[in-house]
């Protein structure tokens, strides 16, 4: 569970940082009569805060799965799984989707509608291509005899990539809605916010994928072993 605890520490740091700004040591019983509430003049949009909280939940989900991965790894029946080479291509495609959304966000802010719409379409296509690529990776592994129940390493591979894929699928649905909305209504304030939220989500899912990829290919294990050696 150490990974989860590290993740929780990060979350706790954010919470403590936020709480530190909330004047928790004030004496509310003395502060009678004014309606100052020390909030920022331009608060963050609720949807953005909502996404932040949601990403903490998703992060917790993956941190726990990674914890489970490491704990299960310790048993003797753990095999190895040769990752198909084109997972690298998939990684590049997902990075492309993330980059496209970043570009879209910049263009939407500058009201370059045409470029922003192109960016959205590129991101959509890249997201879809990533999912198709993942399915190919599954098929390649299955054809090579690495079936789901064959070994815990295989099971974790299919489960974790599946879980990640489902999140990408959800992201695609949101992205699709934004794309439709953008082609109907252009990039008004609301659509720009949606684009920004999509971009944040995709960056996050890319980060999760990179960690996941490192985990599945065994580098993460080497890093962990190295850290343990440092500590002991």
């Amino acid at each position: 569970m150490s990974i989860m605890l590290i993740f929780l520490t990060a979350i706790a740091a954010v919470i403590v940082w936020w709480l530190a700004q909330q004047r928790l040591a004030s004496k509310p019983w003395l502060e009678v009569g004014h309606a100052r509430d020390h909030r920022r003049a331009a608060p963050l949009p609720a949807a953005k805060v909502g996404l932040g909280v949601f990403l903490a939940v998703v992060g917790s989900l993956f941190a726990l799965s990674f914890s489970a991965y490491f704990m299960r790894m310790a048993s003797s029946d753990w095999g190895t799984l040769p990752l198909p080479g084109f997972l690298w291509i998939n990684t590049a495609i997902l990075a492309l989707a993330s980059a496209a959304l970043y570009w879209t966000k910049l263009n939407a802010e500058r009201q370059h509608g045409e470029a922003a719409r192109t960016g959205l379409l590129v991101a959509l296509a890249a997201g879809l291509a990533f999912l198709v690529g993942q399915l190919f990776a599954w098929r390649a592994l299955a054809n090579a005899g690495y079936l789901l129940a064959g070994n815990p390493a295989n099971s974790f591979f299919y489960m974790l990539t599946g879980l990640h894929g489902l999140h990408i699928l959800g992201g695609l649905a949101a992205l699709g809605r934004v794309t439709v909305h953008a082609s109907d209504a252009g990039f008004d304030r609301r659509t720009r916010l949606s684009v920004e939220l999509c971009a944040i989500y995709w960056h996050f899912m890319l980060a999760v994928w990179l960690v996941l990829f490192a985990l599945l290919s065994g580098w993460a294990t080497e890093v962990v072993v190295f850290c343990r050696q440092l500590l002991t």
Partner: protein, 592 residues
């Protein structure tokens, strides 16, 4: 005496109505069924939770019939007993307590208490309820599935949960249970995002965090914890479903069943326990923190006194929330862990007693020299304090490894957790129902019926769970379908068991009084008016009761003071609502 004049000081003009995109229902269906109004959603959540809770109550009756009068009722065989015990536990903890506190009270109270018109994401909020309902239906479906519901115990420990010796292990029972939990967590996440972000973003002008009522603090912190802890249960359920349906071996070790080698191997049941309790322990506080918050407000309001040590109360809530994530393995002392590990978790567990004790002291000190009105909410709040102290003290026993190991599999544990996270939070729920029902419906609940309900429930609950401590100390094991002829179990145990069962039947039946009261008072209750308890918090200051959609009419409230201005010296009344502007400076200094 100082002349108190309002309207002076730095009173700000009320804010103009912001053009919030309030959702406007167009038909009966979208107004009352597929409603996006948090108050309707709250009532839907509460009704569903109480309905499924009644099922769990009947299940506990059936179990007690078997334990009190073994071999008398053909209805309960060993299989059915384990199914009942499992469903009773799971329903009570997740589908009743979690859903009622967060989905029910959270939805109703958060927007009203922080001065918002509604939750920030009303559509997701509506989905949250319907997904919760689906989870409940899937759970109920397992009663009618071939093989019946799972009998694995509410902790669903593998490998036994997936074996044919456990009811539902090789049938639909466990599949439906795991699916239902997964659905519940998805639905809860949608609701939970709402509760958190509404507190963060939706507060009225002047409502600083330190002016929020403790009810909101409790629900808010519990929701944050639930959002971080439920993923652990989610992951555990998904992995177990894989084991059950797709033949993986995440949790399943190599195992021989009825002389036949199963295709599993190498899995780690302990891994499941870590994941489960990483959720399971915060879950205790997910239920307890809203109860702490609500009870603080009940005590303050009905003792006409400000809450003692408000800041401490807030800090304690936050600290308990944080600590509860590093104590989970105290549920696993008997799993054979490294002794240093056990030492660590025993220490963290006992440290939680400090902020919890601070809360108890502060409740008692709030009562000290208060103007205590023994209304129904106050009675339940007092009963809660006693019960929680009781359950907390036995927690100190069980938190120690050496004491826990011999007691772990006895009725002592059953007594402990029922006191601390069963009876105590339920008492708060009852108190809260009597307290807020007038706001929800505009009518008071009947006092006499309420007194009957309170005294039978309170004394009866002690009749049930107090003797269980003694049973546990004698060594009577929990989870057993019947004791049979056991040398160390004296005859008095059987008498006591019969007594407990009769008490359980009575207490269960007393809840019918509450249900009747809830329905009867809708029509025949005394008119409550807007603020029958003369309380300070914003939900009692709505222009209409029950509050309509949008809560506040044209103008949002502005908050000028904290939530606990009761019996302020010099004030004309013994309470000053949070949205009342400042009295003059002179009187304020006299007050402090």
């Amino acid at each position: 005496m100082v002349d108190v004049r309002s309207g002076l000081g730095e009173a700000l003009p009320p804010p103009e109505v912001e053009d919030v995109e309030l959702y406007h229902p167009h038909s009966w269906w979208t107004r009352y069924v597929f409603s996006q109004d948090a108050k309707i959603i709250a009532i839907q959540y509460a009704t569903t939770a109480i309905a499924i809770g009644m099922v769990a109550l009947v299940l506990s009756w059936l179990m007690r019939l078997q334990l009190g009068f073994p071999d008398t009722f053909q209805l309960v065989d060993a299989e059915a007993y384990y199914q009942f015990i499992t469903m009773h536990g799971m329903i009570m903890v997740i589908y009743l307590l979690t859903a009622l506190f967060l989905g029910g009270f959270g939805n109703y109270l958060i927007p009203l208490m922080v001065g918002a018109r509604d939750m920030v994401f009303p559509y997701a909020n509506m989905l949250s309820y319907w997904i919760y309902l689906l989870a409940v239906l899937v759970l109920v479906a397992s009663f009618f599935a071939p093989g019946g519901p799972t009998g694995a115990g509410w902790t669903l420990y593998p490998p036994q949960a997936l074996l044919s010796g456990t009811p539902g292990g090789k049938d639909w029972g466990i599949i439906l249970m795991l699916s239902s939990l997964i659905i519940f967590i998805i639905g809860f996440t949608m609701g939970g995002l709402n509760y958190v972000v509404t507190v963060l973003q939706g507060r009225a002008r002047g409502m600083t965090l330190m002016r929020m009522p403790l009810t909101v603090w409790g629900i808010f912190t519990a929701t944050v914890m639930a959002l971080l802890a439920f993923p652990a249960l989610f992951v555990a359920c998904v992995m177990m479903l894989f084991d059950r349906l797709l033949g993986t071996s995440f949790f399943m070790p190599a195992i021989v069943e009825m002389g036949e080698q199963l295709p599993y191997g190498g899995g780690s049941p302990i891994l499941f326990q870590h994941l489960f309790w990483f959720f399971g322990h915060p879950e205790v506080y997910i239920v307890a923190l809203p109860a702490f918050g609500i009870v603080s407000d009940l005590i303050s309001t009905h003792a006409r006194k400000n809450i003692f040590g408000y800041r401490m109360m807030v800090w304690a809530i936050v600290i308990i929330g944080g600590l509860s994530f590093v104590v989970w393995a105290h549920h696993m002392y008997v799993s054979g862990m490294n002794p240093y590990f056990g030492f660590f978790f025993a220490t963290t567990t006992l440290i939680i007693a400090v902020p919890t004790a601070i809360k108890v002291y502060n409740w008692v000190l709030t009562l000290w020299r208060g103007n205590i009105h023994l209304t129904l909410p106050m009675l339940f709040a007092l009963a809660f304090i006693v019960t929680f102290v009781n359950g907390g003290l036995t927690g100190l026993f069980l938190g120690n490894v050496v004491v826990d190991v011999p007691l772990s599999d006895t009725m002592f544990v059953v007594a402990h957790f029922h006191m601390v996270m069963g009876v105590a939070p339920i008492l708060v729920i009852f108190g809260a129902i009597y307290h807020w029902y007038p706001k929800i419906t505009g009518r008071m609940l009947d006092e006499t019926l309420g007194q009957i309900h309170f005294w039978i429930t309170f004394i009866g609950a002690y009749g049930i769970f107090f003797p269980m401590h003694y049973l546990g100390l004698i060594g009577v094991p929990r989870r057993y379908y019947e004791l049979g002829e056991t040398a160390f179990v004296p005859d008095s145990v059987h008498t006591l068991n019969a007594f407990i069962s009769i008490m359980a039947l009575i207490v269960g039946a007393a809840q019918i009084v509450l249900l009747f009261n809830l329905v009867w008072s809708l029509r025949h209750g005394r008119e409550a008016g807007g603020n029958p308890w003369r309380a300070t918090t914003l939900e009692w200051q709505t222009p209409e009761t029950p509050p309509p959609h949008g809560n506040w009419g044209k103008e949002l409230p502005v908050v000028y003071r904290w939530a606990y201005d009761y019996s302020v010296p010099g004030a004309p009344e013994d309470f000053i609502p949070q949205n009342q502007p400042a009295p003059s400076r002179v009187s304020h200094e006299a007050a402090s």
